[in-house]
């Protein structure tokens, strides 16, 4: 194994390459060999750092010295001073990076410091499999306060005053939901935690369950006390094995400490929790389908009214809340509703956890106060778009949401403002898209998902999503017409107003929203038969450019379907009818003479 005493990273991203990073690498190689350092210094070409304005960039380890605007002429001096003599070449160091670039604690980094971690308070801090660590940070103190000093109505009043709204996407006021259930007179009531988290790209709930399972147990016990339920169910999707395992450990430990079971904290209150596993159905995240699933039936939604709070699981009054909603509750009870309602905006109190995914630098979870703008989330906390690409749109709310474009980036994140621009908060999944994403393809992707997940009970959704998908596929294959666009919009609106449950009612949202903001892309697909982003395979053409082409014939040999014909040292041509758009020829061409348009 080679042991290098130093690594030199040269940014090979598009930006730095066009400013000459290839020459820099070549110079480095020459200089390092000239001084006999090849066995001690490793030269590495990296992907884009995302700091294209500072390029060409060279970083030298182990010091982590960040050199910017480097030119090939600087290399001999750099190698001599830094690599040979160990002296950092100050004149090339990025001026802002001399003192502060080595940030030791995550708490100090800009993109972390701006967050307000309430639901994620314990995540990443405690050992989730040790109840003592949960207790140490005031765990189960809220339950103690509720059971020993508050009446069920006191608890409900606090929840109402806090302004907490459901974090699963619906945004219904939690206190109100609990009050409806509490008012029902019944010998048996239930409280359920919806941990199905079906939205593609969402993992907020998973992280809470894996990192802080006790917060859900404590919140459910508080809820049970408030509404008069002594039995709770946590419905977790089976695709989260670590979350299930951590929940099982937490339940066992809570029972051992008497925080679940009979006579909790000697107050006479009985409450216990059981886990129920999902089985891969997105529709079972819908509350009525979820309850059918717990009852052992096929997960198919039922009409509302009656609402679960009146008649739910086994027709008993039931409260169903999302994992993230529960994660906020113990702190609301312990610190008071005034503290919670002081965060956020007038109609949307508290914070929201977002799962950043897609074309964004800092993929992960961020928790921000309501009222933060999308621009801050994407650029400051998310670190912007990688590889120097341009932002195009962000999809919030997963397959039920709509896309938000540059013109709305400064909107304040709240339940109602997002709905007003044609999207929704949803569960918190945020998928960022750049110039290389085709919005028609995005709509097709989400429709493919919802059509697959439709339970089939009601005609608008069962047949409607299939027809929407067929039309979108027609368009992405270059067979669409302008009339199809009108049909698409008309059908989408019909489905929205007639489907039985939230899945069908919101499935057309990606279509309607992309049609509204990116109609030009649809028109390009339908009229010009072109995909501007270069994604829809059927609309792309691979062409051999005469100029760089050296007529070597490698492409013809590589083509798996024999679509390229020609003679060596003469012209080579791709037969578009035979071409299957696999791209193998473009990859193999040593002169980069084949383009995809």
């Amino acid at each position: 194994m080679e042991f290098y005493r130093s690594q030199v990273l040269v940014c090979g991203g598009t930006g730095c390459t066009s400013s000459g990073s290839k020459d820099i690498l070549a110079c480095l190689k020459t200089e390092v060999e000239k001084r006999g350092l090849e066995k001690e210094v490793e030269l590495i070409r990296t992907g884009c750092f995302g700091l294209c304005e500072l390029g060409p960039i060279v970083i030298v380890y182990p010091e982590g010295a960040f050199y910017s605007h480097v030119k090939p002429e600087d290399i001999p001096e750099l190698v001599e001073e830094h690599l040979l003599k160990g002296r950092i070449l100050k004149r090339l160091i990025y001026h802002d990076a001399i003192e502060d670039d080595k940030i030791k604690s995550l708490n100090k980094v800009g993109f972390y410091a701006k967050q307000e971690r309430i639901a994620l308070k314990n995540c990443g801090v405690i050992d989730p499999e040790n109840i003592d660590e949960y207790l140490a940070f005031d765990g189960y103190k809220a339950l103690e306060k509720a059971l020993t000093t508050m009446t069920p109505q006191d608890v409900i009043d606090e929840m109402k005053k806090s302004g907490l709204r459901g974090r699963g996407g619906g945004g219904f006021p939690t206190g109100l939901k609990w009050e409806f259930a509490a008012k029902q007179k019944n010998d048996q009531k239930y409280i359920i935690c919806n941990a199905d988290e079906g939205d593609p790209g969402a993992f907020m709930d998973r992280s809470v369950l894996e990192g802080d399972p006790h917060v859900v147990l404590e919140a459910m016990a508080i809820g049970g006390y408030a509404i008069g339920a002594n039995m709770g169910y946590i419905y977790v999707r089976a695709e989260y094995p670590i979350a299930v395992q951590r929940l099982e450990v937490a339940i066992k430990q809570a029972r051992e400490y008497g925080l679940l079971g009979e006579n909790i904290l000697e107050t006479g209150f009985n409450f216990d929790v059981e886990i129920r596993l999902g089985a891969g159905a997105f529709v079972c995240g819908e509350e009525t389908a979820l309850m059918q699933s717990i009852e052992g039936k096929r997960g198919m939604p039922t009409p509302k009214p009656p609402f679960p709070a009146v008649s739910g699981l086994w027709e008993k009054p039931t409260v169903i809340n999302n994992v993230e909603t529960y994660a906020n509750i113990p702190q609301i009870i312990a610190k008071g509703s005034e503290w919670f309602s002081s965060i956020g905006t007038e109609k949307s109190k508290g914070t929201k956890v977002f799962a950043l995914g897609g074309k964004i630098t800092n993929t992960g979870l961020v928790e921000i106060p309501m009222g933060t703008t999308l621009r801050e989330v994407i650029y400051e906390m998310g670190g912007g778009i990688p590889k120097g690409k341009k932002f195009k749109a962000v999809q919030t709310g997963g397959p039920s949401g709509g896309c938000i474009t540059t013109e709305n980036l400064d909107i304040s994140i709240e339940y109602d403002t997002l709905v007003s621009i044609g999207s929704m908060m949803g569960s918190g999944g945020m998928i960022v898209m750049d110039e290389d994403n085709c919005m028609v393809d995005v709509a097709r992707f989400f429709l493919d998902f919802t059509r697959d997940e439709s339970c089939g009970k009601c005609t608008p959704c069962r047949v409607g999503t299939k027809r929407l998908l067929e039309m979108l596929e027609k368009i992405t294959e270059g067979k669409g017409t302008l009339e199809d666009l009108d049909k698409l919009e008309h059908l989408a609106l019909e489905i929205k107003s007639s489907a039985l449950c939230g899945l069908g009612q919101t499935a057309p949202n990606p279509v309607l929203s992309t049609l509204k903001y990116f109609r030009d892309e649809y028109i390009a697909h339908v009229v010009d038969k072109k995909c501007p982003a270069g994604v829809c395979k059927a609309l792309l053409q691979y062409t051999i450019m005469d100029d760089p082409c050296k007529k070597c014939g490698i492409c013809a040999k590589t083509c798996p379907v024999g679509a390229i014909t020609g003679k060596v040292k003469e012209k080579f041509v791709i037969d578009q009818d035979k071409c299957v758009k696999c791209g193998a020829c473009m990859e193999k061409c040593p002169f980069k003479a084949i383009v995809k348009k």
């Binding site: 182990p62 982590g64 040790n130 809470v208 993929t363």
Partner: protein, 133 residues
Amino acid sequence: MKSIQELEAIRKKTIDNVNQRKDRTTTRIVVGMATCGIAAGARPVLLSIIDEVKKLGLPDVSVVQTGCIGVCRLEPIVEVIRPGEEKVTYIKMTAEKAKRIVDEHVVQGKIVDEYVMHVVDGKVVNDYTVQKD
């Protein structure tokens, strides 16, 4: 079954273990072990740290797993909190790097600068991909 007083006693006893501020009395090493961490290879990192701490027989050092720290692409993440010191976050760890952290930072108090986050203009630069020609 624990009474309210017993629970309060447990809280008081454990707070020193989990306290992330400078007034703690023992050393705590935290390894991110949510799905993001495990998928990135955190298990060998955790085992390597446990091994090294055991081998060196270090007193007053606890090694703990935790959930998602929030910056999933920088996993495996190891955080070291020593008495009187601010928390240090190491990113993109491997079993070998973790061993070095125990030997240099935990034992000798020398923070390993190479493995902390290098942030320039809000971007973490020591999280890079290697391009082959």
